[in-house]
């Protein structure tokens, strides 16, 4: 089997496993949709973003898309990698001719594919239910989604080495992202967050991904590409990948 066909063979199985796993179906697919519906129901009116007054639903569609992308890539990939490693599956795969890079990159591509699908679902829901207009720069939005998902998948590989049991994977990822959602302009608009918390948030990539996703919704002309923010997100991803290349573990932690 050639390289491309072998990769497609692995990716198909990994996508099937994602879709058949109830945990990923509910937490990755259903939860962001529920969040958008709840936030849109609780918060009414308009908010100020970058000096512009916009309907609050126009803020929440890209904000919850940030959460959807991070769930699909960071949370989902971390849980998948830790579970496969601790069950001995990664070790076994390493004993087959399947290249190690395919095992890893196939998981990352699953994260990106699910992130793109989730973004499309949330965008469609916002348009149908809340009248949020589809951004004119759909290319700019797509680039932000793919760069974000790929970077957060890479962060997942580095993060997975710090999680030692399958049971700890879900709580550990949530502990990492939930506080950042509050201060990074995901759950509440940035204009309502105290300055010092905002300053902390700018260190981490969630803040920058949220800004990059929001831009196409507030800027109705041009590419609406938040190049600086996306570069910071990508830099996190590349740094994490380099770290993971040195620290990634294939054998179960319990039997090392």
């Amino acid at each position: 089997m050639g390289g491309v066909r072998l990769f497609a063979h692995q990716l198909r199985a990994d996508l099937l496993r994602f879709w058949r796993n109830p945990q990923s179906r509910y937490f990755t697919v259903l939860l962001p949709i529920v969040f958008l519906v709840i936030f849109a129901a609780i918060f009414k009116g308009r908010t100020i973003v970058d000096g512009k007054t916009i309907p609050i639903t126009t803020f929440y569609v890209p904000a919850i898309t940030t959460l959807g992308i991070i769930s699909a890539s960071f949370v989902n990939v971390t849980i998948a990698v830790v579970t496969q490693r601790e069950s001995g599956e990664l070790k076994r795969l390493r004993g087959t001719p399947l290249p190690a890079s395919f095992v890893i990159s196939s998981r990352a591509v699953v994260g990106v594919v699910v992130a793109v699908v989730m973004s499309a679902l949330l965008l469609t829901l916002g348009w149908l239910a809340y009248g949020v207009s589809i951004p004119s720069s759909i290319v700019g939005l797509t680039i932000a989604v793919v760069v974000g998902a790929a970077s957060f998948a890479c962060i997942a590989f580095a993060f997975s080495t710090r999680v030692h049991t399958a049971d700890a994977a879900a709580p550990a990822t949530n502990l990492a992202v939930l506080p950042l959602y509050f201060i990074s302009g995901v759950f509440v608009p940035e204009s309502q967050i105290p300055r010092f918390l905002r300053d902390i948030a700018t260190v981490f990539p969630i803040h920058h991904l949220a800004k990059a996703l929001l831009l196409p919704f507030t800027r109705t002309h041009g590419a609406a590409l938040a190049g600086g923010d996306l570069l910071i997100v990508a830099a996190w991803g590349i740094a994490a990948l380099l770290l993971a290349a040195r620290t990634f573990q294939w054998s179960p932690h319990a039997a090392s």
Binding site: Q10, A13, G88, E89, K91, G95, T96, P97
Partner: protein, 366 residues
């Protein structure tokens, strides 16, 4: 693959490769200054079932993982399928099948999907349906992995090891946790692999498994090979004395035995044991003596040391903490227990079967 390439060694392959699939000389490995493999030699020949036995912590898993390419070594010469497993490529991986000690399968896929997935990893895979049939999972082929029993999962694991049509298969404790009928089915599968011409490197805790399957056996204890041979000759088993045992008839003492027997007779647990070099001669004398007392020897047993007896004897001598104790039970069988830290408990049941289990804290290490 043409007939010629199946029979003849690869052009760069040495003559040794034709005969020896695994060649190990002076293998060493230490963890934190403690040497767990102390310069061992192994030779596994093409087409044989080679059983590698040893108590937990003896260096067994470390050795196997070095051969499989999972662990590095500190010293010695290792060749597996004419390659150093410390630096192997995809082509080598395609020639080796693995059943690891524990592996959980992806629960979301069906048996057929998972076997098909692994088939795609190999250049010349076996027929998936036929491989599922071989391990006896044909009626489960469309079941999700999550719905399989422990024994069925292990058989699926064997199917995944075989799907690439490997020359050499490592089976690390393939039947641990099986019920007796599942184990006998697994043995049939392993025996059929030998008929397919595969070389099998088997590690096991079960002596009857080694006895039933192995062409040759090696025992490792405290990091050293203490015995190698066929199951029949291991540790001088074929030359060992027979053990004749019986209860004394009422009113008879050991001293009344014929002289050549009373000299060697020992009384243990209310039974007389005689270690006989010539069992027929001893039994002839014994029979005359019993009938002379107007009685018979109703519970007479004549035993030979089992593979398990030899194993326990050899590993007890080398036990680092001296924690292994072995003694003969009244039934002529053998019970051995190791102190809680040692992890191995084995006992022979009345039916002659062997059960062995690990203590919770004695998991296989090293």
């Amino acid at each position: 693959m043409s007939l010629a390439s199946a029979v003849l060694p690869a052009s760069r392959g040495s003559h040794r490769d034709l005969v020896e699939v695994v060649h190990v000389r002076g293998l060493r490995k230490s963890y934190g200054g403690r040497e767990v493999v102390c310069g061992i030699d192994l030779d596994v020949r093409r087409g044989e079932v080679y059983a590698f036995l040893g108590p937990n912590g003896a260096g067994k898993t470390t050795t196997v993982e070095i051969l499989e390419g999972y662990r590095s070594r500190d010293g010695g010469e290792v060749s597996v399928l004419d390659r150093d497993p410390a630096s192997v490529d995809r082509a080598w991986r395609a020639r080796v099948g693995l059943v690891l000690q524990s592996c959980t399968m992806p629960p979301e896929l069906t048996v057929r999907e998972l076997v098909g997935l692994y088939a795609g990893y190999y250049p010349h895979p076996r027929e998936a349906a036929e491989t599922i049939e071989l391990v006896g999972l044909a009626d489960k082929r469309d079941s999700r992995v999550a719905q399989l029993s422990g024994g069925q999962l292990r058989r699926l694991d064997v199917a995944l090891a075989l799907i690439g049509d490997p020359e050499l298969v490592f089976l690390d404790e393939p039947t641990t946790g099986f019920d007796p009928s599942a184990r006998h089915h697994a043995w049939e599968v392993i025996a059929s692999l030998r008929e397919l011409g595969k070389t099998i490197f088997l590690t096991t805790h079960y002596m009857d498994e080694a006895q039933a399957l192995a062409d040759r056996v090696a025992i490792i204890a405290a990091g050293e090979i203490v015995a190698t041979g066929t199951p029949e000759t291991l540790g001088g088993r074929d030359r060992a004395l027979s053990d004749i045992s019986f209860s004394l008839p009422a009113g008879a003492g050991v001293a009344t035995l014929p002289a050549e027997l009373s000299e060697v007779a020992q009384l243990r647990d209310g039974r007389v044991h005689i270690q006989a070099r010539e069992p027929a001669r001893a039994l002839y004398a014994l029979g005359g003596w019993a009938l002379g007392h107007g009685d018979d020897l109703h519970d007479l047993t004549v035993g030979r040391p089992t593979l398990e007896d030899i194993y326990l004897e050899l590993t007890a001598e080398r036990s680092p903490d001296g924690g292994l104790t072995a003694e003969r039970s009244p039934g002529g069988g053998l019970t051995a227990e190791r102190s809680p830290d040692g992890g191995l408990t084995a006992e022979r049941s009345p039916g002659g079967g062997l059960t062995a289990e690990r203590s919770p804290d004695g998991g296989e290490r090293g």
